[in-house]
Amino acid sequence: MSARNGHAAPGDHAPDNLAPDAHAADLRETIVIKNVSKFYGEILGVNRVNLIIRPGVTSLVGPNGSGKTTLMNLLSGLLQPTRGEINVLGVPVADAERLGRRVGYCTQVDSFPSGMTGYDFVYGFLRVGGFGPADAKARAWSAIERVDLVDAAKRKVAGYSKGMRQRIKLAGAISHGPRALILDEPMNGLDPMARAEMAALFQALAAEGHFVIVSSHILHEVDTLSDAVVVINHGYVLAEGDIHDVRGAMDADHPTGILIRCDKPGLLARHAFEYDHVIEARLHDDGQGLLVRTRDAEKFFRALGEIALTADLTIDSVTPADDDVEAVYRYLIGTSGETT
C-alpha cells in the first residue's frame, strides 16, 4: 500500500475482507476500520473491530451499551482509538479538520442553547465551521429545506416537538455537505409519517453516493432501509454485510425456515425432500401449510420456483420465517436482554 496525499497508508496488513488487489484509490470511497479497540481505562468500548463501510445506508444494531455509540464517536473523530486505525474516505481520524469536512454527526443529545432558533442553530454551526456569511446562509436554508422545516426555521428550538428537534439536528449534520453521515437513533420520537420521510431522505442520500451510518433499535425498519447491517454486542462485531448474506452465512447453524402455504402440502414435502439441503419439513397446524428448514436458502428458493411451475399443486404464499434482521439479532444476541 503506498502512501498517498501525505498521510500514512494503513499498516502492513490489509483488513481481512479487503481484496488483495484493492489499493489506495479505493480507500477514498470507503470507510475502513482496522483492528480497532477502544478502552476507557479498564472499561471496554469496542474490541478489535474490522469493518469496511461502503456508500449506502449502513445500520448499526445492538443492545444498549454494546459499543454502537463508541464506534460512532470513533468514526466522527470525537474519540481516538486505543489501538488500530480508522480511515474515513482516505482521511485518518486523527486529522480532525479534514475529517470534520467529510463527516456529519448527529448525536442523541437533545439540548440546545435557550433562545436559539432552528435557523440560528444550523447557520451558527456552519459559521463555526469556517463558512462565510453568504455561503453559510445558503447552505443552512438548503439543509433546512431538505428536512422540511422551512416554516419553523425561524422559531425557537425550545418550542419544537421532539420530531422537529431531530430534524433540525439532521439539518445541522448535512449542512456542510459531508460525504458521510453518522446518525445516532435519528428517528427517535418521530411519528410514522416523519419516519417514512426521513427514511426516504436517507435512501435519497444513499443513492447520491453518501455514506449514511445509522444506529437503530427498530429492526424491521432496519430491514427495509439498509443496504448493510452491522450487528454488535459487548464491543464485538458479530456480523456485518447485506442482511441476507449474513443470514445465509448462518444457515449451517440456523437452517432457514420457510413457511409455504399450498393446497397439497404433502406433495410439496415429497418434492422438497428430493433436495438434500432440505433437512426438515413439517406440516403446519392447520394442515394448509408446510414449514421447511433448509441449509441453503438460495438453492431452496430456486428449487421452489421450479416446483411451483412443474408440480401439480398451487402455491398460496411463501413466507421466510426468519430471513430478516430480527432473526439474525435473535440468533446472535438472543433475547437474554442482559443489558436492559
Binding site: D151, Y160, A194, H217, I218, T224, E298, A308, V318, Y329
Partner: protein, 334 residues
C-alpha cells in the same frame, strides 16, 4: 364484546385552545392502538379519560363510568392502569416498595397489594432487582417497573404511552410480548405509539387522530381476513425485469424497499403465473404473501397522504377530513 370506552362528542380545550373536537367513538377491542402525528391529541385524550382535564363539551365513559361524575372518575381510576411516556418513578425507593404503595393507593388492602406487587415485578422480569432502588435501574428496567406499577392493582383497562421507548430490540420484543400476555388475560390495552409495527403486532383495533379529529377508526382483525388480489413479493435478481413482465401481463406493480414489489393481480392470474414471470425474468421469488392492507397503508390514507394503493375502506369507518396542508406550525405538544 361490550364497549370499554365510549366517547360522546368529547371536546377538550387546553390553554384556551381546542385540542379535541367533539370525538364520538366506541372502542370495544381487546387491544386498541392510538395513533396520530405529534400534536394530534392522543395524550390529551388519555389524560382526559384519566380525569386530568375536564371536558369542555360532551363526555366519555370508561367501563360504564362517566368521566364527568366525580364518583365515576374515582371508579375509573381504581380500575385503570397508566404507564406514562416519560420516566416516572420514585428515585430512592425500592421497586417493591413503590409498586405496593401505588397498588394500595389504587384500593388494594395492604397484604393483597404486597402480594400482587411481587407478582407484577416478577412477571415483567424484574424478579431479581425488585429490592433495589429504582434509580439504579437501566432504562429498560425502569420501563418495566413503570409497567409493573400500572398492572399491580389488577386494572381492567391499561393505558400505555410509548412503552417501547428507548428499549433495545430484545427489550422491545419482551415488552411487546408482556403486553400481548396482558391483553390475553382479559385486560383492555390502549397502546399509544409511533411505531406502527408495534401496534400492528399487538392491537386489533386502531383509532387514528389528526388535529383533534378522528381520522380513522378501523377493526384490524376484520382487515386481516385475507380476500384480495394484493400481493407482497420479495425477489432476488432482476427486479425491474420482473416488474415489467408483471405489468405486461396486466398487473399493477409498485416497487418498495430494495427487493420488494407490491402487486395487484388481474382476475385471470394465479400464483403460478407470478412464478412464470419470475422464471422468465431471471428473478428468484423469496417471499409471496397476500397483502392485506397493512396498518401503514391505512394510516397514510387516513393522513391524506398517497399510498401505493388506496385501501378499500370496507370494515373501517374512516372519516375523511379536509387535511390542512402539512403544518410545520404544529408545534403544540399535547
Amino acid at each position: 364484546m361490550s364497549e370499554v370506552i365510549r366517547l360522546e362528542g368529547l371536546g377538550v380545550r387546553l390553554g384556551g385552545r381546542p385540542i379535541l373536537h367533539e370525538l364520538t367513538v366506541r372502542l370495544k377491542g381487546r387491544a386498541v392502538g392510538l395513533l396520530g402525528p405529534n400534536g394530534a391529541g392522543k395524550t390529551t385524550l388519555v389524560h382526559t379519560l384519566l380525569g386530568f382535564h375536564a371536558p369542555s363539551v360532551g363526555t366519555a365513559q370508561v367501563l360504564d363510568h362517566d368521566i364527568r361524575d366525580p364518583r365515576g372518575l374515582k371508579a375509573i381510576r381504581a380500575a385503570v392502569g397508566y404507564m406514562p411516556e416519560r420516566d416516572a418513578f420514585l428515585g430512592d425507593v425500592s421497586a417493591i416498595r413503590q409498586v405496593r404503595l401505588f397498588a394500595e393507593l389504587s384500593g388494594l388492602p395492604p397484604k393483597a397489594a404486597l402480594e400482587r406487587a411481587h407478582e407484577a415485578l416478577i412477571a415483567v422480569g424484574l424478579g431479581e432487582a425488585r429490592y433495589r432502588e429504582v434509580r439504579t435501574y437501566s432504562l429498560g428496567m425502569k420501563q418495566r417497573a413503570k409497567l409493573a406499577q400500572a398492572i399491580a392493582h389488577g386494572p381492567r383497562v391499561l393505558f400505555l404511552d410509548e412503552p417501547t421507548n428507548g428499549l433495545d430490540p430484545a427489550g422491545r420484543a419482551r415488552m411487546l410480548q408482556i403486553i400481548a400476555e396482558i391483553r390475553d388475560s382479559g385486560v383492555t390495552v390502549v397502546l399509544s405509539s409511533h411505531l406502527l409495527h408495534d401496534v400492528e403486532q399487538v392491537c386489533d383495533e386502531v383509532l387514528v387522530l389528526k388535529d383533534g379529529h378522528v381520522a380513522l377508526h378501523a377493526d384490524l382483525a376484520a382487515q386481516r381476513q385475507a380476500n384480495t388480489r394484493f400481493l407482497d413479493v420479495e425477489v432476488r435478481g432482476d427486479r425491474p425485469a420482473l416488474a415489467q413482465a408483471l405489468a405486461a401481463g396486466g398487473c399493477e406493480v409498485a416497487l418498495h424497499g430494495r427487493w420488494r414489489l407490491k402487486v395487484v393481480l388481474p382476475a385471470a392470474w394465479g400464483m403460478r403465473d407470478v412464478y412464470a414471470a419470475a422464471a422468465a425474468s431471471d428473478a428468484q421469488v423469496r417471499r409471496l404473501t397476500y397483502r392485506r392492507h397493512s396498518l401503514e397503508d391505512l394510516f397514510l390514507h387516513a393522513m391524506g397522504l398517497p399510498t401505493a394503493f388506496a385501501p378499500d375502506v370496507e370494515g373501517t369507518s374512516a372519516v375523511p377530513q379536509a387535511i390542512p396542508p402539512k403544518e410545520a406550525a404544529d408545534v403544540r405538544r399535547d
